[in-house]
Amino acid sequence: MNPKSQWAIRCYPAAWRKRYGAEFAALLEDVGPGWRDWWDVARGGLKMRLKWNFATVLTACGLLGAAVAGGWVYRVPDQFVSTAVLRIARPEGMTETGFAERLQQAQTTVLSRTSLAEMIQRPELDLYKSDRARIPMEDVVRDMRNRDIKISPARDAKDRNLNAVAVSFAYTDPKKAQLVVQRLVGALAEQLPRDGAWVKVEVLDPPTLAGGPTEPNRIAYIAAGVVFGLAFGLVLLGARRWPIVVTAGLAAGLIAGAASYLIPDRFISTAVMRIDPASPDLAPSVLTDQRLIALIQKPSLNLYQNDRAKMPIADVVAEMRRDLQITAINSSSFAVRFQYENRYKAQAVVREVLTALTEANVMLAREHGIGKQNLEVVSPAVLPEQPSRPNRLSIAVMGLAGGLLLGALLTAFRRRGPRVLAAGA
């Protein structure tokens, strides 16, 4: 047997080689194979090796999923978490709710856009450099606040008047993670007034220098890859056995996804302000019908143009009330939120409302005899980058689910159909 034939026959499973190897080699010697024949031999061997049964498909897809997840997860940089624990004493006579609100206020200020943006850009920290080159500062701050920083209060079991607060920050550089936690702890302590015996702040555990990386959890990601691979394998097997189900599902998912682009985008702009003390009349005084009509008809905004052509202005105002919300975060912090199809107009409306709130606050403060400055914009109106609605992914997934269901019903009906006819014949 010549070496080429030997290698070609190795493409086939051992059991097959044992039974047919000698005669197959004889055939190859007779044929004098060209490249097309070698390709045919290789393809035949592969087909023999890969018997596309249930177990083979699932195993192959599971391994593929693990390989893809493994390849991806090793590209993700390590994340290190630094943590500090603060103990804050609740003063005598202060209610738990009041104390929790005070803590919440301090937290809102520490995590405000201004505070975090300043921290991110400090030369010794210089955080999220590559992110800042790609995405707006607003998004970097949002990710830092929502994803990487965790401030979780925990009551001290021994002393009910002592509250323990854990502050942690996850970052790719362990030293920077520690520095950020140091600064967050400092900022939090600064926000809690320590005049007299009001609040006592004590650092129980100083910020740790993070040890081993906590993220990514590679085993979990690879396990997730295996699960997705197995799910993909089941879809493949389903496609072979029940092609209508899979085809209908994919087609409906694609159609729903494409159709979702007909729904106009909705952008949400949000701002947070602190007014302490706040008058309960403040928000209603700003959201009057006259003020909203003035906003709607302001030439630079010109809101709800299509609706105004179709319905009376009172209905347009009612619609705007649904889109514009002033909600209390706590007794002194308010979030102003407006959703609209144009992101610049969404931001402009929130700015207008902030201005109106500031003006109304000055008037009310004067009426109530509050002399000092009691208003602070904690987070200015954000220019939304991504639309909040429609959620195209969920629409496509719902379409997929609907299509799969429809396909399953069609398959069941088709299988039932001939039997019914045969029974009737």
Binding site: A26, L27, D30, R36, W39, V41, G44, G45, M48
Partner: protein, 95 residues
């Protein structure tokens, strides 16, 4: 008719043949050249189903023969194809 298993059965219906002889015969009567991998894939399946069996031989080239069940299967397949061919021819004449 391009199913390799039917082509092999049709070739063996004439008499016992080894792989290379089958390839040449099929190319002659069907105008299709089966590659060595395709041919032995078909031979493997046909033997598993009991439609062909090896004939004892001293040569490294292994001849095969069609079995009774293989012949019956071929007759059924050819009968079905024949009906299709005749119908198509009749319709083409009247078209």
């Amino acid at each position: 008719m391009s199913d390799p298993t039917l082509l092999v059965l049709a070739s063996l219906a004439e008499g016992d043949k080894h792989g290379y002889a089958m390839m040449e015969d099929i190319e002659r009567f069907a105008g299709t050249r089966l590659g060595p991998g395709t041919l032995y894939g078909a031979i493997t399946r046909l033997e598993e189903r009991g439609w062909i069996r090896p004939v004892p031989s001293e040569d490294r080239r292994q001849p095969y023969t069609i079995t009774a069940t293989g012949r019956k299967h071929l007759e059924e397949q050819v009968g079905a194809l024949d009906a299709i061919v005749k119908t198509a021819q009749r319709r083409l004449k009247h078209a």
